[in-house]
Symmetry: C2
Subunit: 306 residues, 2 copies
């Protein structure tokens, strides 16, 4: 797997992105740095890195309109990296820049897979094995057919990237009894019950942290809120514990640390795309690159099953 | 404030409900026990309680259809307790039984306030002062006008029950920039910006645990998922810490303990209604009764502002 890294994306780019790429390359992953050569070169020199650099003169800012930026800045680091994937010069794209821009570059430049109604964000929830929350933010408003496809794509990520055999799928709702929820959940249930994977019915918000199923499926609005509540709660408790002078035990802090998961997959496009947190440190970037590297075969398997 | 307690509602009823009522009455709250006299009497005797008991022969089970149960079981403890409030024989209803049944009894028996489109659940998020999440589950599908009313009712709870002056209101969405979210959030924003309270714009899932605003407004589907993710996350981290042999410091465990908040207000009906967790212990019931007792004036103030 050759990973095209948007070296300019993220709050701590390009220093932390390049450093993360160097760390990942030490463990054998091929990384291509995409971004402003004048800024990346000195960092590579300092770190003794010989990673290949593809120059990109522009950057998409966090507050630009994503679709407009992708159309008007063909020389931005995210656009150039996406073209490398489109043209087969890289197998995966990793970015800690604007999520909207990564979604837009993936949809416009790399392109949606045939048969996929909507690409979706498959977030990785820390547990053993990690569970998948899909859609975690790409599609705020969807129909039942979209949820069916999200579930199918989520099971492929669970199987291939995390080695789960025959993953269980739960539909996020507000009660475990069938029929609980909105019309969307009732209609989706009919489709999910006929689907070729292990659908276990409704799950609730509590099941997300508890990881009672391998794949939690929902619309991108609910999924994004749920993911951020989970992250906010873990940060809050960590801060409370620290302030009380009794920080959480190291192994728990690590288990809760969203940097350790590296990011989220964007599935349904013709290439592996991993979206990392904007605040990613080098550790998070390294883990995002590893997350992309373990997803070989996800795209072809989604294509096979659709 | 005279509180009618559904003594038969909850996983540990009637022992824990009666014990919680006795504890609350010690600190000066008037509680009326509603339920099966034959089962409540011996508990009261054991506890040396002289609290008044109103007999109710039936109980609504956790898995009954709520509306059907309320219509067909007029002698159920929740129905009898709701009638006490309707008839002015009690000022508030507290129940740890089926949430659906409490909602149905409140809507059907106590009745919606004039001008209220939909009663809503105002959940109490532990922080100092507590913040309000509304709607936390009563209305899975709503329009912008409903969100406006939820926000208004939430500010009244924040002011009157928790003493917050001029509470801030945030709209739960998937990005802080205006326009982020679904059509619902965009349309609601227009109404909220004109409203006579301090609307600060969009907030995200992370803001829920961080309590960056006093009132978080959303639809009952998103709100219920968010509340349960938060509860699940705190339980999960507490369990992880315990398993690691380093349980969370006492003051944090208490801050995170949902029993300490006692429950959620159902607002928009002609009486104070507090819904407690089904798994409530006597401590949670005592706190739910106190939550109801601090809400004097909420109903009249909502009426005044609508």
């Amino acid at each position: 797997m050759r990973i095209a890294l948007d070296a300019m994306g993220g709050d701590h780019a390009p220093l932390e992105t390049v450093a993360g790429a160097v760390e990942a390359s030490v463990s054998g992953v091929d990384v291509i740095l995409v971004g402003d050569r004048d800024r990346i070169d000195p960092i590579c020199e300092d770190l003794g890195s010989t990673l290949p650099i593809i120059h990109a003169a522009e950057v998409v800012g966090m507050h630009e309109d994503p679709t407009k930026a992708i159309r008007e800045k063909p020389d931005s680091s995210i656009s150039v990296a996406a073209r490398l994937v489109r043209d087969g010069d890289a197998d995966a794209l990793v970015s800690a820049g604007s999520t909207g821009a990564a979604l837009a570059a993936s949809a416009i430049t790399i392109g949606r897979m045939e048969g996929v109604l909507r690409p979706a964000v498959a977030a990785v929830i820390p547990s053993t094995p990690p569970s998948i929350l899909i859609d975690a933010g790409a599609n705020p408003a969807v129909g039942p057919k979209h949820l069916l496809q999200f579930a199918l794509m989520g099971t492929v990520v669970s199987e291939i990237a995390f080695g789960v055999a025959d993953p269980t799928v739960g539909l996020l709702s507000i009660g475990t009894e069938p029929g609980k929820g909105r019309a969307l959940e009732r209609l989706a249930t009919e489709l999910l019950e006929q689907a070729p994977f292990r659908f276990v019915g409704n799950v609730e918000g509590r099941d997300l942290a508890a990881s009672t199923v391998n794949v939690v499926v929902t619309d991108g609005f609910t999924g994004n809120v749920a993911l951020k509540v989970l992250e906010g709660a873990t940060d809050w408790i960590g801060a409370l514990a620290k302030r009380a002078g009794r920080p959480l035990p190291e192994e728990i802090a690590r288990a809760l640390d969203y940097e350790s998961t590296g990011g989220a997959h964007l599935v349904g496009v013709k290439g592996v795309v991993v979206i990392a947190h904007g605040s990613s440190s080098r550790v998070a970037i390294r883990n995002a690159i590893h997350l992309a590297a373990t997803a070989e075969g996800v795209v072809s398997e989604i294509g096979r099953r659709l």
